[in-house]
């Protein structure tokens, strides 16, 4: 590691500050072809996000939609379904961190992958009815900041999720693609939950 202390010839490689931690192994520069594998998933994800938004804007809100037995109304159904999605998403986050070895001292058990897959599928299938209700009964709205944020995050969530699923099914994608997309999907979902479920609980109280 003596090279750390020699003035690099290229200023672009100069460390910002001397680090006592061992230098992280530099990832091999992704080949152009690896990045190119992301093109189709990202394009399709973008199309999905835009399509969801355009439908939400063009479809005239019906203000009614199929409800679910056991709840007082469609809003409470959505609030609790989204909360369920968030719980599965937390499982997603933890299981993903385990698989990537990011939780110190925890070795991922062999079933972590299965747990990750099925919690993800459950989360997605719970999220779909919420989105359908939002789109069919309310649509994309820009009335107030909370609604704007929620509308846009909703479109982004399904686009990012689609892109992540497509990247999963491809070989030779860059190593950073999955954690990045997964992180974006998770972040969008947390934002969706905050801008809808938490808002509901805070303003209406905890209702079923």
């Amino acid at each position: 590691m003596s090279s750390d202390f020699e003035p690099p010839t290229d200023p672009a490689y100069r460390p910002v500050a001397p680090s006592t931690a061992p230098a992280a192994p530099t990832a091999p520069t992704p080949a152009l072809s690896a990045n190119a594998t992301l093109l189709v998933p990202l394009l399709v994800g973008g199309v999905v996000a835009v399509a969801v938004g355009v439908y939400g804007r063009l479809h005239e809100p019906s203000h009614i939609a199929v409800s679910l037995a056991g709840f007082s109304g469609p809003l409470t159904v959505k609030v609790w379904l989204t909360t369920g999605v968030l719980l599965f998403a937390l499982v997603q986050l933890v299981s993903a961190l385990m698989m990537y070895g990011k939780i110190p001292g925890v070795a991922a058990p062999s079933w972590t992958g299965t747990l990750h897959r099925w919690s993800g599928r459950s989360a997605f299938l719970l999220a779909v009815p919420v989105a359908i209700h939002c789109l069919y009964a309310v649509g994309l709205q820009f009335d107030e900041p909370r609604v704007i944020v929620h509308s846009l995050l909703g479109c982004f969530f399904f686009g990012a999720f689609t892109a992540k699923m497509l990247v999963l099914s491809k070989k030779g994608t860059p190593a950073w693609a999955l954690p990045l997309l997964g992180g974006l999907v998770f972040t969008a979902l947390v934002g969706l939950w905050l801008s809808a479920s938490l808002w509901f609980f805070a303003t209406q109280g905890i209702k079923f």
């Binding site: 809100p61 203000h63 209700h133 699923m165």
Partner: protein, 227 residues
């Protein structure tokens, strides 16, 4: 398997979405037909028919069959204004609009004006004004009335939800009542008895009647062309 699984997940989500969409469309049609049956003269029944399914209504009476005359489309928007307190309804037909704002207690305002090219311009007594826009199922804007200001963004409602008005003379007192029936069936109304405002008695939306001082009076759906 590993490389097909995510695709199956996406397809399963798509299939679930499709099933829910069909259920929603069916429910909307059924609800619309029920609404048409309940509508009194069908005045509000022509509001924004966006029948996505091509299936003919099976239970709708002949008089409530979807009319093919979009220029005369009547649409009513109703909902709560910003900050709660005030409820607003705007009925639009043939470029004209009537709006009603009330708190269900003692404050109310009737406004009349125009609705064209997506723009709302209404005015009422006491310098009440309403400026806003409408279209794509939402009316939004600002109201100034009874010395206060509200902003609103409200969606369309279908009969029997909507705006109702009753005007009658009961025991030599001029009575004017306004009711907004929200999409969930909740009613907000104010009754003006000889210039004094008070909470309105419940309106029976099946018969469009209410009882004031023991006298049954009839309320009419407001379509927007006038009071």
């Amino acid at each position: 398997m590993r490389h097909k699984g995510p695709i199956f997940t996406l397809l399963a989500g798509l299939a679930l979405a499709a099933v829910l969409m069909v259920l929603n469309l069916t429910a909307t049609n059924r609800n619309r037909n029920n609404g048409d049956n309940a509508a009194n003269a069908g005045a509000n029944a022509t509001a924004t028919t966006t029948s996505e399914l091509g299936t003919a209504p099976t239970t709708a009476p002949a008089t409530a069959a979807p009319t093919k005359a979009p220029p005369a489309a009547q649409v009513t928007y109703a909902g709560r204004g910003s900050g709660g307190g005030a409820t607003i309804a705007i009925a639009i037909k043939d470029g004209k609009a009537v709006a009603y704002l009330c708190d269900g207690n003692r404050a109310e305002a009737w406004l009349q004006g125009t609705a064209s090219n997506g723009e709302l311009k209404l005015a009422g007594s006491g310098n009440a004004t309403l400026m806003g826009s409408y279209g794509n199922g939402v009316a939004a804007g600002a109201i100034s009335a009874t010395g206060k200001k509200w902003t609103f963004a409200v969606g369309t409602v279908k009969a029997p939800s909507g705006l109702y008005r009753a005007a009658a003379n009961v025991r030599n007192a001029r009575i004017v009542g306004g009711w907004i029936v929200l999409a969930n069936g909740e009613q907000v109304g104010v009754l003006n008895v000889a210039g004094e405002e008070q909470p309105a008695p419940p309106l029976n939306t099946a018969t469009n009647t209410t009882t004031v001082d023991g006298t049954v009076i009839t309320a009419n759906p407001v379509d927007g062309t006038g009071l």
